[in-house]
Symmetry: C2
Subunit: 500 residues, 2 copies
C-alpha cells in the first residue's frame, strides 16, 4: 500500500486527462441516442434471459450531471428491468447494521440492471476527506470494496463502476447556477458547497479509489462530463458494452477448486462425548434467570447477536433453541430456519438471504442451520460446484468480519453426537407422535454420507474458526448437558459483551 503514500499531498495526475473540451452537437446526440436506444432495448431483453444481475455504480463529482445520466437511462431502457437505488442518508434500520447491509438489500434479481447511485464509494470518500477516517482506514475500506465486488462478480453479477468527472472550473460554473435555482433547498446547496470546497482532495481520493479497486471483475470507467450530451451517450455506451461483454460470456472466471490432498485436524474425533449434566433442573432454571435480564440489557444497549446452530441431524438443535427462547423471548429474538432457497433467493448471491437477516440493534437472530450449508449440504449434495463452495470459506469469514466490526455478537454452535446415538434417536422419533414428521427417508440417506460430512465439518472448523467468530463444539450425546452448555456460552458471551 506504500504506493499511495502522500498521494493526497501530491494531488491527482491521472484524472487530469479527462478534462477535455469535448462537445457533442445536438444532431450527433440524437443520432447516437436513436441507435443506442434500439440496441439497448434488444440487449436488455437478451440480458433478461441470461438471468444474471448487473450492478452499475454511479458516483463522481457534484454537478457532473449524474441525475441526468440516470434519467437518460430511464428514457431509453425498459424500466421493468431497471432498478435505481440511491444511497445518501442511511435510515435508522440501516445504520444499525453493517455498512454493506443496504447494498445487499438492494441487490437486483438476475436479468435486471441495478443502478447504485453513489454506491459504496461516496460516503467512504466523504469520511476520509472530512478527517473522520485516516488514510489507512480509507484504504482498508477500499480493500473491502474490492473483496465485495470480486465475490459478487465470481458469483455471476456483472459489475461496472462509473466516475462522473468535470474540471474544477466547470464545477464552479455549475455550482453557481445550482445555488440560484435551489436556494430554498439547503440540503442541496450545502452539499454543493462542500463538494466545491474540497474539489482537489476529492479527486485525489477518487484516484486512490480507482487504483485500488479497478479490477477485471469490476472495472472503473471515467466519464468526461464537460458536455452533457456527450456524457449521457458515453454512459449509455458503457452499459451497452458491459451487457454485451457479459452476454458473450467474457465474464471473469474465478475460484480455484479444492484439492483432496490436505487433511484437516479432526476436531470432532477429539471431542469427549461422554459428558453428562449433573444437576440439570436447577442449573437450567438458574441460567434462564441469569440470561433474561442480560438479554434485555443488550436490547437497551443496542447490542445485537446472531447465534448459529449447526450439527448432525437429530443432535438436538431444536431443543437447545427452545430452552434459549425461554430466556431470550420471542419479542427480542427470531428463529430463522434455513431450508432450501426460494426462487427469489436463488437468483442472487447465496449470502444475500443471510445479510437480510442481520438483526437490528438489540435483537437476536437464532439460525437453525445457516450460511454454512454452502460448505456442508450444498458441497456434499453437489448443489454448489466445487469452485463455488471452495471460495465460500473466504466469503463467509468476510461476512462474519463485517458483523464483528459492527459489534454484532456472533456465536457458532456445533452439536456433536455419535453415530450410534443418532441412530437411536431416529428410531425413537418414529414412536413419538409430534416427532414422526421429523424423520424421513432422507435422514437415513444422509447417514450413509457420514464420512463425507466429517471431512466437510473438519475443513469448516479449520477454515472458519476465527477470533471474532469462533466455533463452539458441544458434546450432545446427553441432551441436557448440551442445553446447559449452550446456555452457559450465551450467558458468558453476553456478560463479556456487556462488560459485566
Amino acid at each position: 500500500m506504500i504506493i499511495f503514500k502522500n498521494k493526497t499531498a501530491r494531488g491527482y495526475i491521472m484524472f487530469k486527462q479527462f478534462q477535455t473540451d469535448i462537445k457533442m452537437s445536438k444532431d450527433e446526440y440524437e443520432k447516437r441516442l436513436l441507435e443506442l436506444r434500439t440496441e439497448l432495448i434488444r440487449t436488455q431483453y437478451k440480458f433478461k434471459d441470461y438471468k444474471r444481475p448487473m450492478i452499475l455504480v454511479l458516483t463522481g463529482l457534484d454537478g457532473a450531471g449524474k441525475g441526468d445520466m440516470v434519467n437518460a437511462l430511464a428514457d431509453v431502457m425498459d424500466s421493468r428491468l431497471l432498478e435505481v437505488a440511491t444511497f445518501w442518508q442511511e435510515t435508522d434500520e440501516e445504520a444499525e447494521r453493517p455498512y454493506y447491509f443496504r447494498f445487499w438489500n438492494s441487490m437486483p434479481m438476475g436479468g435486471k440492471l441495478g443502478v447504485y447511485f453513489n454506491g459504496w464509494y461516496e460516503r467512504t470518500i466523504r469520511k476520509y476527506i472530512d478527517g473522520d477516517d485516516t488514510e489507512n482506514i480509507f484504504l482498508d475500506k477500499m480493500k473491502n470494496a474490492e473483496k465485495f465486488e470480486k465475490m459478487l462478480a465470481l458469483d455471476g453479477t456483472v459489475i461496472v463502476k462509473a466516475w462522473a468527472h468535470i474540471s474544477k472550473k466547470e464545477q464552479k460554473k455549475r455550482h453557481e447556477k445550482l445555488a440560484n435555482k435551489f436556494d430554498n433547498v439547503p440540503e442541496i446547496t450545502e452539499r454543493a458547497n462542500w463538494y466545491y470546497a474540497k474539489y482537489d482532495k476529492i479527486v485525489a481520493s477518487a484516484e486512490m479509489a480507482y487504483k485500488t479497486t479497478h479490477t477485471e471483475f469490476a472495472p472503473w470507467e471515467i466519464i468526461d462530463c464537460s458536455d452533457k450530451r456527450y456524457s449521457q451517450i458515453r454512459f449509455l455506451q458503457i452499459i451497452l458494452d458491459s451487457m454485451k461483454k457479459a452476454l458473450e460470456d467474457k465474464m471473469p472466471k474465478g475460484g480455484t477448486t479444492p484439492t483432496d490432498l490436505i487433511t484437516f485436524p479432526d476436531v470432532l474425533g477429539s471431542t469427549d462425548l461422554n459428558k453428562t449434566a449433573e444437576n440439570y433442573k436447577d442449573e437450567l432454571k438458574e441460567l434462564v434467570t441469569d440470561i433474561k435480564p442480560l438479554a434485555w440489557e443488550a436490547y437497551e444497549k443496542g447490542i445485537s447477536s446472531m447465534l448459529v446452530f449447526e450439527g448432525w441431524d437429530a443432535a438436538g438443535k431444536g431443543g437447545c433453541i427452545r430452552r434459549l427462547l425461554r430466556a431470550v423471548d420471542l419479542r427480542l429474538s427470531k428463529v430463522i430456519s434455513i431450508a432450501a432457497p426460494t426462487q427469489e433467493e436463488l437468483s442472487r448471491h447465496y449470502l444475500w438471504r443471510f445479510w437480510r437477516q442481520v438483526p437490528r440493534a438489540g435483537y437476536m437472530s437464532i439460525f437453525d442451520r445457516s450460511w454454512y450449508g454452502r460448505v456442508l449440504v450444498e458441497r456434499i449434495e453437489g448443489y454448489a460446484k466445487p469452485e463455488e463452495w471452495f471460495r465460500s470459506y473466504d466469503e463467509i469469514n468476510d461476512f462474519e468480519e463485517h458483523l464483528a466490526e459492527r459489534g454484532v455478537m456472533l456465536i457458532k454452535f456445533f452439536l456433536h453426537i455419535s453415530s450410534e446415538e443418532q441412530l437411536a434417536r431416529f428410531e425413537q422419533r418414529e414412536d413419538i407422535p409430534w416427532k414422526q414428521h421429523k424423520i424421513t427417508e432422507e435422514d437415513y440417506r444422509n447417514r450413509d454420507r457420514t464420512p463425507e460430512y466429517i471431512d466437510a465439518y473438519n475443513e469448516m472448523f479449520f477454515k472458519t474458526n476465527t477470533k471474532n467468530a469462533p466455533w463452539v463444539v458441544i458434546p450432545a450425546n446427553d441432551k441436557k448437558y448440551a442445553r446447559l452448555e449452550v446456555l452457559k456460552t450465551v450467558n458468558k458471551t453476553l456478560e463479556k459483551m456487556l462488560k459485566i
Copy 2:
C-alpha cells in the same frame, strides 16, 4: 356509536367475569400440553397445505405473561411455519408511512401462522388513555381495525385476537416482582408503571375495543391469565381450534356479487379528445423547470407522493412518465411497473404488494398500472372472482384513505384515447425498432374487449373518485397535450401540498 357513550366513566363490566381463581395443576398441564403438541403439529401441517395465512393478534395487560404464551407456542409448533412480529417501537421507515404499513409488511405467507405481538390495538389504546386521541378518534380507529380485519378475512386470512387478562390485584403482585428483577432496564419498568397506574382505564378501553371489533371475521378471545399454566394451555387451544375451524372450511364467506342492472355515468364518452398542445416545447421546458425545485422542496418537507397511471394500451403512459422523470429525477422517484403478481405476492392479499411500495417521506412512487388492475384486467380476464373484485372498490378507497391520512399526495391519471388512435399506434409501433417488443398478439386481443373495459372504467371512476384521491382523466389522442396536462396537474398539486 351512541352505545359507548360514557363507557370510560362507567368502567368495565364484561371483563370482570374473567378474573377467576382458576388453577391448573402441573400434572394436568403436562398431560394437556402433550395432547396439544401432537394435535397442533399435525394440524399445522394440514394448514400448511391449506395455503391460507393465519394471523393471531396477542395483546392484553402488562404482566399477564404474553411472552411466555408465545414462547410456549414456539415450544410445541414447527417454527418454520411460525413468524412472530413484535410491534412496539416504530422504526423511522415505518413512522413515515401510514399506520398499517408495518402490519402489511409483516403479513405471513399462505400456510403460515403470524403472531402479531400487540397488533394494531396496543398503541391505539395507549394513545387514547394518554389523551392524545379523543374518544371519537379512538372509535374511528377501531372502525379501521374492523375494516382491515374484514378485508383480510374475506380474502382467506384466518384471524383471531386474544386479550390476555389479569385482575388489578394480580397485576400489582407481578409488577412488584418484575420491578425487582429488571431494575436495570428502565424501558421495562417504566412501561410496567404506566400499565399499573392506568389499569381501570385500559380495561374499559379494551372492552370498547372488544365490542366494536368482535366480528365473525376476526373474533376476540379473552384469556384468563391468573394462572400461568392454564393461560398457556388456553392460548394453544385457541390456536388449534381456529386452525381446525378454518380447515373445516367454516370460514366466513363474504362479499356480494355485482349486478348488471346498474349503468354508470359515461365519463370517457364525455371527454373531449380533440384537444391539442399549442406550444409544446416551451411549455414542457417551463413545466419541468417549475416542478424540479417543488419536488426537492417536497423532499425537504417530507411530503411523499404516489402517482398512478392507468389508461388504454398505447395511450402513452410511458412517455408521460419519462417526461415526469426529467422533473422529478430518479433519485427522488421510483417507477413501479405492475406486471403479473409473483408467487410471493399471490400468497397474500392483493393489496399487499402496493402497501409495500408506499414511499418514505419526501419520495415519489410512480405506478405504471396499479392496484386498479383488480377491477380492470383481473375483472375482465376472470383472474379475480366477481365477489373478489366487487368488494375491492371499498378496499381500494380504504387504502387511499390511509394514504391521505398520512399526508401522501395521491394523483390518479387516466389516459384516454379513441379506438382508432389506438389502432394507428399499434400499427406504428411495429415499425419502430425499440417499440416492436411492446406490441403482441395480446394487445389485439385486448382490443376486442373494448366494450367490457369501458364498463369497467366507468364503474371504477364512479366508485373510486373520492375527495382525497380524485381521478384525472386526460385526453391523450395528442400525446403532447397529454404530457403537458400530466405535468400541469403534478405542478398544481405539488404547489397545493406545499401551500405556495
